[in-house]
Symmetry: C2
């Protein structure tokens, strides 16, 4: 542990722990490129994490979730909090997508050292979305960012998985798209801790709030019941229900004007307090730890197994050839390999 | 193998092999829901695959790749070929995204039994994008579809991986977005077998063709060199270079009017013949087989390992707890688990 490599590692880790933006950006690039020393640094950083409040913001392209995120950054910066953003939606202005005007507007944070934005949509991320997201969140947490936003488009199981890494999840919808409300999947309803009806100056906003409330009543009858005054309330923050559960608030915003943003921030703060008081904070930390373990295993087990097969005198080539020639199917072969290569419990530890 | 369960399985497999659309759709749903019998059916189907020509169509949202796909379907249907489409882009009209007019137009294929469209963007796909895509392609191949199109948005490593499952990859760009051309990653250049400059009636189309040619010359100096007459040619089909390599054609289309579509179809046909004549068809089949194996291993090894840890008297809980409390990091623990659980080569087979 006293080799020169260790001291380079230590200085890198120390730079990041002191909040050095360039060191953090370099580490994230190295992680993308699978540089071995980068992984070693992330291992080191893990013990320095656990302080950040991690918020998922999910919504379809066009829902305005990036504008909402942008305004939330502003709100929190004015309170003196530092913010990290991991943007996954390829159409997000944060990732360089969407229309040019948006993209330029988002860049106003680029000169603010208290904001760190990282796009995962346009970079290679070996090992999949989840692992990259977890790594980037870990680095931002170690840097000392107070709040970390994970911005995802609300489709795909992978992205729902990613949102499980957050302490609180905000789902953004827009009014007037009856079909889209119908298409909201149970998965999205399950992950939402707060619903935001953005573009609430449009016709049909109240109807959308009502539809959401009905769906929540159907899908989350316990803990998800909403205060009946919500549909009528112009804008505001939800009250936790008095029954110990969390009552999912439905908040109206006009993100482009900044309307309702402070309510969303207050709602998130309240949800955080709720998690801490009822012990769910610890449960969500364990959920993330489990996800982190599975992602790490996915990589280590597969690469270990492929290496073993490759070293086994051309056995990998032979297996691939049998699949390609349709002599055997990949699932049956993978089962056989897993059976042969995974030790029974007890024989290991 | 003569149990009642087997005969149900057999009849299901036979229905799909005879092209039964409802049986295929049901199987795909069951795969999403991880129904065990669905996996057994896919294992059976694997030996009946390998006939379809698999085409990847990649492009940013707004590039018109769905319209191009739609027109290609038409073209091939008129030649009497059957077509399958796996749509992954969440903003694609095939997946229910994009603007309403588009979506309705795409539905003209919904009454045609020779066309099978499956969206993966809005369904859960446990195990990730790659595995789901490979499964759906496998089912469509077994159904007897002549051509299978995988439609993806051109960002993210996962989606580039998916494209590797195709025999031929078409990358769609639009003129006038100088920035976007710059942003085309080497990864996209590597996978493109054919470039399509869509919306070629817009200003700057020739410039875009030239820019692409320059980039191809830079990034793919061997085999990727383009015939210099291409930039000037109004529309047409590329010639393979005479050197045994494939010269990536850059084709101009106006997909909304159907202009240039037959050239794209002809270019794909030519690329297919090229693959078959030079032996690269077999190489790409092996690439897909390897991807299929890795995806299957990812699932089997991780689930096998988690089961082993869970059976080992609370060891999984203890490990998750150590990660959550930051006593240990997930990568180090995963390495230890992989080391303990993966047998050395030779000791297995």
């Amino acid at each position: 542990m006293s080799s020169p490599a260790t001291s380079i590692l230590d200085s890198r880790v120390e730079s990041i722990l002191s909040g050095d933006v360039r060191a953090a950006a370099r580490l994230m690039r190295d992680l993308d490129d699978a540089v071995p020393s980068a992984r070693a640094a992330v291992r080191e950083l893990h013990s320095h994490t656990g302080r950040a409040f991690i918020v998922g913001v999910t919504g379809n392209p066009g829902s305005g979730k990036s504008t909402l995120t942008d305004q939330l950054i502003d709100h929190w910066r004015q309170s003196g909090l530092t913010v990290g953003v991991v943007a996954i939606d390829p159409t997000s202005p944060f990732t360089g997508g969407a229309i040019l005007g948006d993209r330029v507007r988002m860049q106003r944070h680029s000169t603010d050292d208290g904001v760190f934005i990282r796009s995962l949509a346009t970079r290679g991320h070996l090992g999949g979305l989840s692992r990259s997201t977890l790594d980037v969140v870990r680095v931002m947490d170690a840097m000392g960012k107070d709040i970390i936003i994970i911005e995802t488009v609300g489709v795909g199981q992978d992205e729902i998985e990613v949102t499980r890494a957050a302490h609180s999840s905000v789902v953004v919808v827009v009014p007037g798209l009856g079909d889209d409300i119908q298409a909201i999947k149970a998965g999205i309803l399950e992950i939402a801790d707060i619903f935001v009806v953005n573009k609430a100056d449009r016709q049909g906003a109240d109807r959308t709030v009502q539809d959401l409330r009905t769906m929540l009543d159907l899908f989350r009858p316990s803990g998800g019941r909403l205060d009946s005054s919500w549909a009528e309330a112009p804008r505001g923050v939800a009250q936790s229900s008095g029954e110990g559960g969390w009552s999912v608030p439905i908040l109206k915003t006009v993100a482009t004007d900044g309307d309702g943003i402070s309510d969303v921030a207050a709602g998130l703060n309240e949800h955080r307090r709720h998690l801490e008081s009822c012990g769910d904070w610890t449960r969500r930390e364990r959920d993330r730890a489990r996800l982190e373990l599975i992602e790490a295993l996915r990589e280590q087990l597969v690469s270990g197994c492929l290496q073993a097969l490759e070293a086994d005198d051309g056995r990998l080539d032979e297996i691939v050839g049998r699949i390609a020639s349709r002599k055997a199917d990949p699932y049956t072969l993978a089962s056989e390999i897993a059976r042969d290569h995974i030790l029974e419990p007890g024989s290991s530890s």
